[in-house]
């Protein structure tokens, strides 16, 4: 019990969303509206912060959210836009009040919802470090002590006495993050702020966060859309949906469940129907199986993918082949597999059989793919062709390239080794 550092109980928050204006349909009505406008406006503005029950135009950004965070835990928060992640962080960082519920936190909290809050363009880099640092809750003494380190980390030493308005946006971000990285709170709350800045610096920041949590026992709450980053940093995760917690648990599991939920394709696999079943040789079923043995259309980069093909036939013939081709989103063929349909496999019975292929982990890069499959005698006869089957996604779950999420890095991860290295 004593190592629970954040305890959130039944937290709810509602917002008012703008109601549609009443439109006038006559000129006279319009004139009346113009005169009444200040009164209506006053009521509307006055009510911005008030609510009646069951009112229209009220939106529950958070509804009855409860969870606990242990000391030293790095908790990732994932979910679609508007799921309530940012609202949750805003309440945790005391920016806005909850409508109901309670949070208990043991320790100094620092929230980083933006990089470089309070920067003033006319002040120099050095002055802005003090400005930003004190806004984030540091004292002048603390900043004095860490000033050199902060300037060093930011990599803008040369310009530290130049007004910030002459900085490039990248330099501003670096400076802002350097200040934040040197906070020493027991609880650190970070919103999607790492999405800015260049790769090299992003990597440096992630390293710093990792260091903070692992080596210094700090608790970190982290919101990001980059599942790879979450997977890399967090040991547990919360998946939010419509202002509520959908699931909570180990990061790997949560991410997996989350990925399979965001897929918009309903049918998980191909299943032959009607006339197809009457073909001499046909594919009965074409499915992708994950490591848990379940059909899925979403895989992490680090997962094995099994391709299971169930087929039916009338009689056994040796020259019949099964061919499977993988295509990427742009319809580029990535590979083709050719295998005899009847191998030394023990067939279930005289009418059907199945064959399972396995693709290794860390093979396909994040993206959307699909298969084309056929049973045929090459150059002679095609028995059953199914196109664009099993449209599936590969999602970044912490590969070597996770820092490059969103960038085109090709469709396969390279398999190579360095055999010589000149210095």
């Amino acid at each position: 019990m004593s190592d629970t550092i954040i305890k959130v109980e039944n937290l709810s928050k509602r917002y008012r969303i703008g109601l549609q204006e009443k439109k006038a349909d006559t000129f006279a009505q319009q004139m009346v509206n113009v005169l009444k406008y200040p009164i209506d406006n006053f009521r509307k503005i006055q009510n911005l912060g008030k609510f009646q029950d069951n009112e229209e135009g009220v939106h529950w950004a958070l509804k009855d959210v409860s969870f606990e965070v242990k000391q030293g835990e790095v908790l990732g928060i994932i979910g679609k836009n508007g799921a309530g992640k940012s609202t949750l962080l805003k309440i945790l960082s005391k920016i806005t009040e909850p409508t109901s519920g309670r949070i208990e936190m043991n320790g100094r909290v620092a929230a980083l919802l933006e990089v470089g809050t309070g920067f003033h363009p006319e002040l120099t880099g050095r002055e802005n470090i003090y400005m930003n640092g004190t806004i984030l809750g540091m004292t002048k003494k603390e900043i004095d002590r860490k000033l050199e380190e902060i300037i060093d980390f930011s990599g803008v030493e040369k310009y530290v006495d130049t007004p910030v308005k002459f900085y490039s946006s990248g330099m501003r971000v670096r400076l802002g993050f350097s200040v934040a990285a040197h906070l020493e709170p027991e609880i650190l709350i970070i919103d999607e702020v790492l999405a800015v800045g260049d790769f090299e610096f992003q990597k440096k920041c992630l390293g710093k966060i990792e260091d903070v949590s692992k080596n210094q026992g700090r608790t970190v709450l982290f919101v990001s859309h980059q599942l790879g980053t979450i997977n890399q940093l967090c040991n547990s995760a919360i998946w939010m949906n419509n202002g509520q917690i959908e699931q909570l648990g180990k990061t790997r599991k949560i991410i997996k469940e989350y990925i399979s939920s965001i897929s918009d394709i309903k049918s998980e696999q191909f299943e032959a129907t009607g006339i197809e079943l009457e073909k001499q040789y046909h594919i009965k079923k074409f499915a992708l199986i994950n490591t848990e043995g379940k059909a899925s259309l979403n895989f992490g980069t680090n997962e094995h993918i099994k391709i299971k093909v169930d087929f039916g036939f009338s009689n056994r013939k040796n020259n019949i082949e099964i061919a499977i081709a993988l295509f990427d989103y742009n319809e580029n063929r990535i590979f083709t597999i050719h295998e005899p349909l009847f191998r030394n496999n023990t067939l279930l019975d005289k009418k059907q059989g199945s064959i399972v292929f396995e693709l290794p982990p860390n093979y396909l890069t994040p993206g959307s793919y699909h298969f084309v499959a056929t049973i045929h005698i090459p150059h002679l006869e095609s028995f059953h062709l199914i196109e664009k089957v099993c449209v599936f996604s590969i999602v970044e779950t912490g590969s070597n390239f996770s820092d490059y999420e969103g960038i085109n890095i090709g469709v396969v991860f390279p398999q190579y080794r360095i055999i010589d290295d000149y210095v």
């Binding site: 004593s2 550092i5 917002y15 503005i45 006055q46 911005l48 912060g49 805003k90 309440i91 945790l92 960082s93 005391k94 920016i95 806005t96 009040e97 909850p98 409508t99 109901s100 519920g101 309670r102 949070i103 208990e104 936190m105 043991n106 320790g107 100094r108 909290v109 929230a111 919802l113 933006e114 809050t117 309070g118 003033h120 006319e122 002040l123 002055e127 003090y130 400005m131 004190t134 806004i135 984030l136 809750g137 540091m138 004292t139 002048k140 007004p163 027991e186």
Partner: protein, 273 residues
């Protein structure tokens, strides 16, 4: 268990400002005040010189218009000294009103991204104006020397009047800044209201021009006492306590009300800013 325990709950009713927390953020107050000063005079040729030019020219215009053309009674002292003794605190007062009223709206970006005691913002606005106030004191000194006026013993009460000035500015500043977050009308109204307010205080005219039966009501304006008091102490006249105390009470009430009102509105700032 760690010493810093935070509980977040929806707040209810009227609450007083958390001074302990405010104290923890004193460095922020300092840097925001400095930022306010630096930002105001950044990239201007004359810099803080404007803090001298502005009141000086206003006084000159008043002297020509009210003292010279309209021949307003100035209690038998040179009109320029008479009006400057009033303009010195008045300029500070009116300056802080517009500066603090705008302080939350102008920093909405900060309010929605980081938590800190919001009161710091109007406070910093009011403190950063203190520099101008001190600089414009230089003109006052020059005028005193030129007219060979020696302040009386009453000068020991100056800190008291300055506190009254500060409390009054703070009180109104807190209310206005909190209102301005929700009602942007404040910003537009304030410009001309400050101009009109000038005539509710004895800046261009003397209190002797106020009819006797209205003098008490008139003295409820905290600025009346401040201005009358400052005039009296620099010109070595008896302290006009009858002008000062009603305003002092009103000023204090304004300040306390401001504290409560600000605290009450504080929670919705981030949602409506």
């Amino acid at each position: 268990m760690l010493a810093n325990k935070t509980v977040i709950e929806p707040s209810k009713g009227w609450k007083f400002i958390d001074f302990h927390e405010l104290w923890k953020y004193k460095d922020l107050l300092y840097f925001l005040t400095v930022r306010g000063i630096k930002a105001r005079y950044a990239q201007s040729v004359l810099g803080v010189g404007w803090a001298i030019i502005q009141p000086l020219f206003t006084t000159l215009v008043f002297t020509v218009v009210f003292g010279g053309l309209a021949k307003v009674d100035s209690d038998g002292m040179p009109y320029i000294l008479f009006s400057y003794l009033a303009l010195w605190p008045w300029n500070y007062f009116s300056g802080t009103l517009s500066e603090s009223a705008n302080s939350l709206v102008a920093n909405a970006g900060m309010i929605t991204k980081v938590y800190f005691p919001r009161l710091i913002l109007p406070l910093a606005a009011i403190f950063s104006k203190l520099l101008d106030f001190m600089i414009s004191f230089v003109i006052l000194l020059v005028l005193l020397i030129y007219f060979k006026v020696v302040p009386g013993l009453g000068i020991v009460f100056l800190p008291l009047l300055l506190i009254q000035l500060l409390l009054c500015s703070l009180g109104i500043g807190m209310v206005l800044s909190a209102m301005a977050v929700q009602y942007r009308d404040v910003k537009y109204a304030l410009g001309f209201i400050v101009q009109l307010l000038l005539y509710t205080a004895p800046v261009v005219y003397s209190t002797t021009a106020v009819p006797e039966e209205w003098q008490f009501v008139y003295s409820l304006n905290p600025m009346v006492g401040v201005i009358e008091g400052i005039r009296a102490m620099f010109l070595d006249r008896p302290m006009p306590w009858e002008w000062i105390w009603p305003g002092a009470i009103v000023g204090f009430i304004l300040f306390v009300f401001g504290l409560f009102y600000f605290r009450r509105m504080e929670k919705v700032f981030a949602d409506v800013a």
